[in-house]
Symmetry: C5
Amino acid sequence: MIEDGEWAQSSDLLKDYQDPGTPPGTLRPADGESGPSRVIVASYTADTIDVREIADRTELDGLRGDGRIHWVHVIGLADVALAEHLGGVFELHALALEDVLTLGQRPKAEEFDTTLFCIVQHLAYRRDGLEKVQISLFLGADFVLTFQPSGSDLLAPIRERLVKGRARLRQKGAGYLAYAILDLIVDAAFPALEALGDHLDAIEEGILEKPDQDDIEKLQSARRELLVLRQVLWPQREVMGRLAREEHELMPEDVRIYFRDCYDHAVQALEVSENFREMASGLLDIYLTSLSHRLNDVMKVLTVISTVFMPLTFIAGVYGMNFDRQQPWNMPELGWRYGYLGFWGVSLAGIVSMLWLFRRKGWL
Amino acid sequence: MIEDGEWAQSSDLLKDYQDPGTPPGTLRPADGESGPSRVIVASYTADTIDVREIADRTELDGLRGDGRIHWVHVIGLADVALAEHLGGVFELHALALEDVLTLGQRPKAEEFDTTLFCIVQHLAYRRDGLEKVQISLFLGADFVLTFQPSGSDLLAPIRERLVKGRARLRQKGAGYLAYAILDLIVDAAFPALEALGDHLDAIEEGILEKPDQDDIEKLQSARRELLVLRQVLWPQREVMGRLAREEHELMPEDVRIYFRDCYDHAVQALEVSENFREMASGLLDIYLTSLSHRLNDVMKVLTVISTVFMPLTFIAGVYGMNFDRQQPWNMPELGWRYGYLGFWGVSLAGIVSMLWLFRRKGWL
Amino acid sequence: MIEDGEWAQSSDLLKDYQDPGTPPGTLRPADGESGPSRVIVASYTADTIDVREIADRTELDGLRGDGRIHWVHVIGLADVALAEHLGGVFELHALALEDVLTLGQRPKAEEFDTTLFCIVQHLAYRRDGLEKVQISLFLGADFVLTFQPSGSDLLAPIRERLVKGRARLRQKGAGYLAYAILDLIVDAAFPALEALGDHLDAIEEGILEKPDQDDIEKLQSARRELLVLRQVLWPQREVMGRLAREEHELMPEDVRIYFRDCYDHAVQALEVSENFREMASGLLDIYLTSLSHRLNDVMKVLTVISTVFMPLTFIAGVYGMNFDRQQPWNMPELGWRYGYLGFWGVSLAGIVSMLWLFRRKGWL
Amino acid sequence: MIEDGEWAQSSDLLKDYQDPGTPPGTLRPADGESGPSRVIVASYTADTIDVREIADRTELDGLRGDGRIHWVHVIGLADVALAEHLGGVFELHALALEDVLTLGQRPKAEEFDTTLFCIVQHLAYRRDGLEKVQISLFLGADFVLTFQPSGSDLLAPIRERLVKGRARLRQKGAGYLAYAILDLIVDAAFPALEALGDHLDAIEEGILEKPDQDDIEKLQSARRELLVLRQVLWPQREVMGRLAREEHELMPEDVRIYFRDCYDHAVQALEVSENFREMASGLLDIYLTSLSHRLNDVMKVLTVISTVFMPLTFIAGVYGMNFDRQQPWNMPELGWRYGYLGFWGVSLAGIVSMLWLFRRKGWL
Amino acid sequence: MIEDGEWAQSSDLLKDYQDPGTPPGTLRPADGESGPSRVIVASYTADTIDVREIADRTELDGLRGDGRIHWVHVIGLADVALAEHLGGVFELHALALEDVLTLGQRPKAEEFDTTLFCIVQHLAYRRDGLEKVQISLFLGADFVLTFQPSGSDLLAPIRERLVKGRARLRQKGAGYLAYAILDLIVDAAFPALEALGDHLDAIEEGILEKPDQDDIEKLQSARRELLVLRQVLWPQREVMGRLAREEHELMPEDVRIYFRDCYDHAVQALEVSENFREMASGLLDIYLTSLSHRLNDVMKVLTVISTVFMPLTFIAGVYGMNFDRQQPWNMPELGWRYGYLGFWGVSLAGIVSMLWLFRRKGWL
């Protein structure tokens, strides 16, 4: 959740970090997580599938090596003992487990002896801004292990496709399941980008109609969200590129061809976000020109008023002078029969000609 | 079509996308398409050519392997069954067919077992902005398959060249036909760029003559179109570069030499669009300086008026004071014979010298 | 010629292009060219040289293979039949000939079977802006073929060096002649850059002295010329780099060493033009600060005038009030002996102290 | 310490340097250092550990080759003789020792015959700005040598982990100790970045609430600190990347896997600092828009006041004129029964309608 | 010398160039050089050294091959015959000699058959701006040849180190001498950068205290000097990188290790100059905000004055009206006993409440 008080904070750009000097591979519960974790296990072959939620972690012990592929999905990152237990069962590296429990990681893919480890970020645009949820995935020969922090199960659509009768998803091994999961997460960026795009359009409309300080704060917040997006989408693209390109025994050739598609989507999401950044920085310029326009309008009103009334006030002042009327040359106009009417005639003529001039200059 | 209401929307930068979690290779009609598709088939050897429009898709079944080269052009992307049928006849990969039916794709070239698959975007500048039309092309040993969404047949000029007696186009196999089609699409960017350049020139002229908020909206819309252009032209260049560089059995050496030319054009189109972007961002600066100029002009008028009339009004006010004329030192000027004339003399001298000063300062 | 009406147009950034769909290798006269072409042939060995202008193109037929090196320089690009004839005699590729006849090409170097083909742009700064002239060059084992559009012979200095007794130019084969020609063209950028630099300095001086809208138009025009420059100089550098680096049978090692020098110059020209671009974009900022300065100056004058005269006018207005002097508390000042003098005293003291204050604030 | 007087100076970006022409490898005390150095030696095997502080440098002579790993940590860079002595005992290159004694170095990793030499910068955010402390590290087969300038012992947490019973740190050789030290230093950037982020947030809040010149100075200082950060973090990332990637006999494969983690952190720190830079440059734009807003507000007040009172003052001036009331057409209003009340009626109506107009325009 | 009249000119960015079309290798005296050159020869072995200045160039003929290393340093580039003579004695390539005599070259390193040729630029910050002096260096198996334009001997410190008893410099061959010279020149950038940094700090202080047009000219001049710096430091870094990286028989492995150090310094100098450029462009923004601040201040004064006095002047005008006092409703205030005092009471209350309001708004 990016925006939490009034606008996005700088610290949203930082990952959680342990105190410098902490030994590597030290596990501690992820920030802001508490309570037990949910563990959902799906075990399948091409023909059969068994989905169940596990309460006791020792149920995981006998899973491996029964010829089925197991997908273990863990929701909640507070249970360090569970993470360690999984590490033991599936032979995971301690550094990788530490990364799983540290939120705000940069997306990455790493190879360990028998597993492939990825971290990606699932993006969504909520009412209060962009939300990123860190999904960690371990791929082994016959298992996929995924972790997400607390919240609703983001990978449920995959499990549904898995369950549906005779799904292609069950025919193709653990690598293809990993693809399906990563594809879901990469594609989740598009609705988020669409919502962010609509948000930018709304800001632009607001700026063009009536620019105020509030728009600037919204814009600044949107720019920060775009920075977060970039921080996620750049390395996500890299991760997909590596999976599509590099040969790996866990990723057979016919699965890699699907990652090419996934890579294309990651590139497109990144390009769109870069274009949004450019648009957002263009909006600030537009804001400034809008302000200048308004200032010009205000100044024109002031100038029109001053230009019309200053000379008239001077003339009225002149005929309010008390020069001694005994002297013949002193203010004879005051004695004229139509002096006053003449004064008004001159005044109105002045006003009218000024207004005509300003209209011609386009100031009205 | 980029501009559809008042100005281009952010969402024009996004491609259509399927709901995250949809299985890959799921075919659905392309957005905004409906009704049956037109299928135009041209079958030729170096000496003979036969062009016809096909109503029943089963007519396509016997085409392959008769020694002729077949170019099947499909207009309209709503008929999923047709796409699947073509996929069966020409052995196309399901992921590629999914891309064909998803509009807003990034240009790309991909190799599959027996076919080469390209997506490119045909650009045109219509009355209401930049229009991009997605053309998909499959190249096989003896066939070329092209798809475009509904609209008039964009590839008709190629078919005309094909029909014309003893055309070089018929002498050189399917790869050269694919080149001819891609070359047409790459070159279509130039008239679009020319129109966009004229549009930018018109905006610049407008800004330099009389900057108003409307210019800013036009400029913002043009910048967004340039972002779309870049999104198309960068990968298009890459596609042509790969086709010109990489050896492929479907692209003999003597055809690749033509793609070098095509690549040059793609590079040039890209460079021009990048330069246009730089110019467009320069226009905003010019707009701001124009506004500042105008503000300066308005302020000068105000200052001239104030500087001339404030002192005069003060003097007129002085002689309107009611100091007791009985006291000899109180306002003797009022009793002078030529007091009033003197007042006007001083006033006019003040006005004239002020105006002379301002003219020297260049404020008039 | 970049600037043709009032300022440089966007379309100056576009090359000429044929209608999309035109078959590749279609020759048509270059834009804006007409009339017959001049053909100047120089045939030489180390010891002898024969320079002549040819009227009938069949005179070219017997040239090749007589042991001499032939340099054919063609001025004028309207004569398509001549181009085709040359293509036949020297075995040139149709795509290359099409490029020769299409103006506004990006500089490039291409290898064909027996020839090396380069396009470069000769730059000059004329009274009405930057002028680029497209020079095409074919290098064969025993010939050099050059083309330029109509105009005075740009390569005459090379021919003079060739003719001069015992010139090194004649000792070293066709590759060295090609080097001499390309070196001339690369070096021609320096006087053009110098002129453009002087132009920028003049604009800067104008802006610092007295910024007006005219400077902005000049600056915008100069920036567009710098974009054109970059469009030429980037690929020109690349061309020289390739010629200096890549081994080629037509370019012996001892000639390539000279191209290293040529490449250095191309790099330097490019760097200078990039620095000019940075300076030009800095000038706009300076322009804006100049405008702000002027606005500040105007506002200070207005504020000084208002601050001095508004209080005084108020006081004068006070003593123009008609309160009933019968009441003892009503305006007794009006009856004082030195009331009027006191009023002036106060007024002058006010003026003087205000001006002193403003001088201290640095507003005067 | 970046900020030392009022704001960060340009010279903070420069390293100390010796006079040009000084022979390489010339040792002189580091700038600003004086007094003796502290030398803390930790000698350990997997099972035993001995930590002591050494007063006499000859105690170091017999250390090498006793089968234990020695970590010598030197605090203080004024004692050139000590440095030379260490150079002799551990066979260090003179150039490396010169770098150790020159503060402000760019982080780097260099290989010498038998040692690996790194320079990194430990970052901390103190009350008076960003502080960088240069840590130099030599890694040999059985020793680690570290240097820091005067100050409290930054590496104490590592020594504590080393001493703690059965620490993994003691099981894995000198390379793993070097990793632990470098990891500590890389991770130290995160608290510093967090503090700097909070500082930027505070500046932003200040700007949005009430922009003044002081914010600009703070912002400028923060931008300079970000430049320093980048100068440190870019090469630091490179150093970690090389250590993670390049095979080296002193760095066994199972230690290199830890450097991958370290590299990830270095990348993340760099990305965060780059995003901060972008945010900081965005803040300046926001500052400018805030100023424009305020100017607009001021001008609106001025315009409202002028527009309301100028016409009224004119009318009051009119009825202060002294036209001869004997003439019937001269100022008959003055004799009307309700003239004065009518004047006030008109005035109030004018004021009210003006204010209503301005409210509708949004100026109030 | 960059700054020569009032501010740096664009042409300072251009190198000297010969007329396009001049044959390569044509020697002519360097621009602005005249008179004879000084030639200082140092011939040494590890044990002996002989330094002398040579008047007659034929003394150079017998130098090579006597087992000693010869360092010939030439000051002054007007004597073309001397250059040609040296070219003959040391077998230098004509193109390299041409580069030596052409000032304003880009730093570069080139290999010829038996010599290594470098051009570097010695930077210094003089009272009137940045000064760059072109040093050319030829390295052969047993000689080093250096050239500098007229001026004091920049390489004297090297010669002193050479002469000093048992200098390491004499033990290590010509390559190490070349290193010592290039190291001196690379390090000379640091004092120049320090001076330029101080200059930037002074400009910043000026801008923050009191921005005027003069600061802008100074800033613009500094930015141009930074462009020159970059033009020198980028390729200088490249030169050092090549010398540190590429194996070459004239540069033994143990000398290359020193160039690594030299490369580090070149990188650091470049980074500092890039950071200075960023700071300089930040200064312009600060300048603009300073101007805006000042404008805001001026406008506040104007608005305060107007807001206070306009209503008061209106009221004074009201009581100066001549409504017929015979009518009971006409201006009864004028007849009140304390009317005048009441007027002043209202006026003062108005002034005080306005000032209080403005103070609360922060305008005072």
